[in-house]
């Protein structure tokens, strides 16, 4: 269906259902309960899941298929954000032209950088992309201040022209981003018993784009073009010897993944119309690499999982403070309670990066294939047990004869 085989279609449907019902699924705990801080079902975080999901899916098309490790992908995201905000400033607050422009600009930017960087492979490619991204970051901070507004970041103001829209609304404030009048920040809250579920317009816009990107990624993975990209990864030399020039394929993959990053950047600006240079910094590029590998590079669903995982823990862990910890360990005697709080304290709140770092080390050491491999191993464990049970049964039934 939709040009996918049954297995892929099933995966796509599952992802679609998850995205559609995420406001329910991510809000399993009642508002007033002690566990409410583990709820991730608020619009801001859910949007980030999807946006970083798109970013990672795109990165995976390059890294997972061709094996080219780009360490400068955040530059495309940053460029996308800047172009979207400029569109909001100059044209209108409708998100579609902004997102379209951010994808196109990021694509052109990726074409330029990719054309040069892809002359080299391996770590040289990583350093080249890193160099370009750091250059963009440094320039955005210094010389390009008229375009990027330097350290403050690019923001909307009341004096922006907005040719097709209005510079200011009737009550004199900056208009909000919308899709033909549907405001992105508008949230419908549904209260059911102790639960409050939030349905945000922006989230569903992101969901639509995420599903489109995911669908496109599946099609690329299963296409002859995707096959060609895998060939680059498995044996570039042999591919060259068969008379094929690998570089156009790699460049196409690079541009596509750059456009994905631009889409993510554009959506980010559509949800919250500002853009700053720190989005282009190499740590941001490192983050998407980590997401992809944590989830499982080269798999379809891995990058989305990795992005969700990291963003979830980033938000939840950094919210836990000492008071919360004291609440958790309150059932223990005072001395042990304080000891536990002291022990856990470095890993949560401001120290969540420490947890993140440890998690990476552990995942890379023990689960090189990422979360997807972990899931497969667990599934394999069950399957083997089932298979063993079946053979046991067949053995048991056999002696009767």
């Amino acid at each position: 269906m939709l040009g996918l085989n049954t297995k892929d279609f099933l995966l796509f449907v599952i992802v679609a259902i998850l995205a559609l019902f995420a406001p329910f699924i991510l809000n399993p705990f009642p508002v007033d309960s002690a566990m409410a801080q583990f709820n991730a079902g608020y619009p801001d975080l859910m949007q980030r899941f999807l946006i970083y999901g798109i970013f990672a899916i795109g990165f995976n098309i390059l890294f997972g298929l061709t094996g080219y490790l780009s360490f400068g992908h955040a530059a495309f995201l940053g460029v996308g954000s800047y172009s979207a905000v400029w569109m909001f400033k100059l044209l209108s607050m409708n998100v579609l032209p902004a997102i379209a422009l951010s994808v196109v600009v990021a694509g052109i930017f990726a074409l330029l950088i990719g054309f040069i960087s892809l002359r080299r492979a391996g770590i040289y490619f990583a350093i080249l992309t890193l160099a370009f991204a750091q250059m963009s970051f440094n320039l955005a901070y210094s010389v390009l201040t008229p375009i990027t507004n330097g350290e403050t970041g690019l923001q909307l103001s009341l004096n922006d022209p907005r040719i097709l829209g209005v510079s200011r609304t009737a009550d004199g404030s900056i208009p909000v981003t919308n899709l033909f009048g549907i405001e992105m920040r508008e949230t419908y809250e549904m209260v059911m018993g102790g639960w409050a579920f939030q349905f945000n317009n922006g989230y569903y816009l992101c969901a639509v784009f995420m599903l489109l990107s995911f669908y496109l990624a599946i099609r690329i993975f299963r296409s002859p073009f995707g096959m060609m990209l895998r060939a680059i990864k498995s044996n570039n030399t042999r591919m060259t010897y068969t008379g094929l020039n690998a570089r156009p394929y790699a460049l196409a993959a690079f541009v596509i993944s750059g456009m994905y990053a631009g889409l993510a950047g554009g959506l980010m600006a559509a949800m919250d119309p500002l853009a700053g240079a720190e989005r282009m910094q190499w740590t941001a590029s490192g983050e998407v690499v980590l997401m992809t590998i944590l989830g499982g590079a080269g798999t379809l669903i891995g990058p989305v999982l990795g992005a969700g995982f990291i963003k979830y823990f980033e938000n939840i862990f950094s919210k836990i403070n000492d008071n919360v910890l004291h609440g958790w360990f309150a059932f223990l005697p005072d001395g042990i309670e304080n000891l536990m709080v002291t022990l856990v304290h470095p890993f949560v709140g401001k120290g969540w990066h420490l947890t993140l770092g440890l998690m990476f080390v552990l995942v890379v050491v023990f689960l090189p294939g990422g979360l997807v491999e972990g899931g497969k191993r667990i599934a394999g464990l069950f399957r083997r047990r089932k298979a063993r049970d079946e053979t046991d049964q067949s053995k048991q039934s056999n002696p009767a004869e």
Partner: protein, 343 residues
């Protein structure tokens, strides 16, 4: 002319730091074949060795001095550091003053220990894994080390002064026959440069003139054959990892007075050092040193006002620009050997 000399000198101290870090990176890459993203963190830990020691020396107790009163008329409390109390104010004061150079002594064992633990504990398992995995695991390690330091020392830079004797500046211009105040250069930066030169020289001499170094060089060239000759090359490579960690750490210790250490200083240097290594040529030690100084000096030239007025923003991107040009025209870097890191 004097401006050019000044810029060369200005580039030397940053170039020294780049060269030292790049040297360690190349040592690790050349011996173990591991791309170590945690190397910047080792540099940072070195700097925090200096911070720790100077804090230890400054531990003090309060006494009430009956002869003096504070502005309310109460007897004033005076803080005396333990060191001064034990060793007398002259000797103790001198020790406190020289805290940064003295931390070199503790930094060497600390850094070698950190290097051994890292190598034996984690990196050992990554020799045969792809470079991407190595980058990730060392990147994770770097985050962990950084956060541990942040937890204990906070996020703000901690000023760590150089000894009083080196606090002023030297008027090099007068010595070379220029006007006074034309070329002024802080003493500590001269010390840093000299120190870097000594360390680099020592590493090269160690590799060149000792049997151990010879075996290591042979192992870098052909690990398998050396192993077949019955030499435990892994053990020697582990020691080299410790030495590389120590080089990064010492570079960090001496850098503490130039830039107040903070927990992410390592990451800031790491990216540039990788660029330096690649420009110098992966696996080439002289290349790393040469590229380190070259890029340091070019960076300081690019920050001259005359050049910035022609090419605005060039100081921000010069290193990356040079790296891109060199990688595209000389793919192996300045002095890279054939067959290193080439797919």
């Amino acid at each position: 002319m004097d401006a050019i000399i000044l810029q060369i000198l200005n580039g030397l101290d940053k170039g020294s730091a780049y060269a030292l870090i790049a040297l360690g990176l190349t040592l690790i890459f050349g011996t173990l074949g591991v791309v170590n993203f945690a190397h910047g963190a080792l540099f940072m830990i070195g700097a925090f060795c200096a911070v720790t020691l100077s804090r230890l020396f400054n531990l003090s107790f309060e006494t009430v001095d009956p002869d003096r009163t504070d502005f309310l008329g109460n007897p004033a409390t005076v803080e005396t550091t333990y060191i001064e109390h034990w060793l007398g104010s002259q000797m103790g004061g001198a020790i406190i003053d020289w805290a940064v150079p003295l931390s070199l002594l503790i930094a060497i064992p600390v850094m070698i220990a950190v290097g051994f633990i890292m190598e034996r504990g984690i990196i050992k398992h990554f020799y045969s894994r792809p470079h991407a995995d190595q980058i990730l695991v060392t990147f994770g390690l770097a985050i962990v080390l950084q956060e541990v330091i942040k937890y204990f020392y906070g996020a703000n830079p901690i000023p760590t002064p150089a000894p009083d004797a080196f606090r002023g500046s030297l008027d090099i211009g007068v010595m070379l026959g220029f006007d006074p105040n034309a070329i002024i250069y802080p003493y500590w930066r001269l010390v840093y440069f000299a120190f870097a030169a000594v360390i680099i020289g020592a590493v090269f001499a160690f590799l060149r003139f000792t049997t151990f170094g010879m075996v290591v060089r042979a192992g870098m060239a052909d690990r398998e054959t050396v192993g077949l000759l019955g030499i435990n090359i892994d053990k020697r490579f582990t020691i080299m990892f410790g030495i590389a960690a120590a080089v990064a750490g010492l570079a960090g210790v001496m850098y503490a007075p130039i830039n107040s250490p903070n927990y992410h200083m390592g990451m800031d240097f790491l990216v540039l050092s990788f660029v330096v290594v690649v420009v110098g040529g992966m696996g080439s030690l002289p290349g790393a040193v040469l590229a380190g100084f070259l890029l340091g000096i070019l960076e300081s030239f690019a920050s001259m006002n005359e050049i910035k007025s022609i090419l605005p923003g060039i100081d921000q991107i010069i290193i990356y620009l040079i790296a891109i040009i060199i990688l595209l025209t000389r793919p192996r870097g300045l002095m890279g050997r054939k067959g290193v890191m080439e797919e």
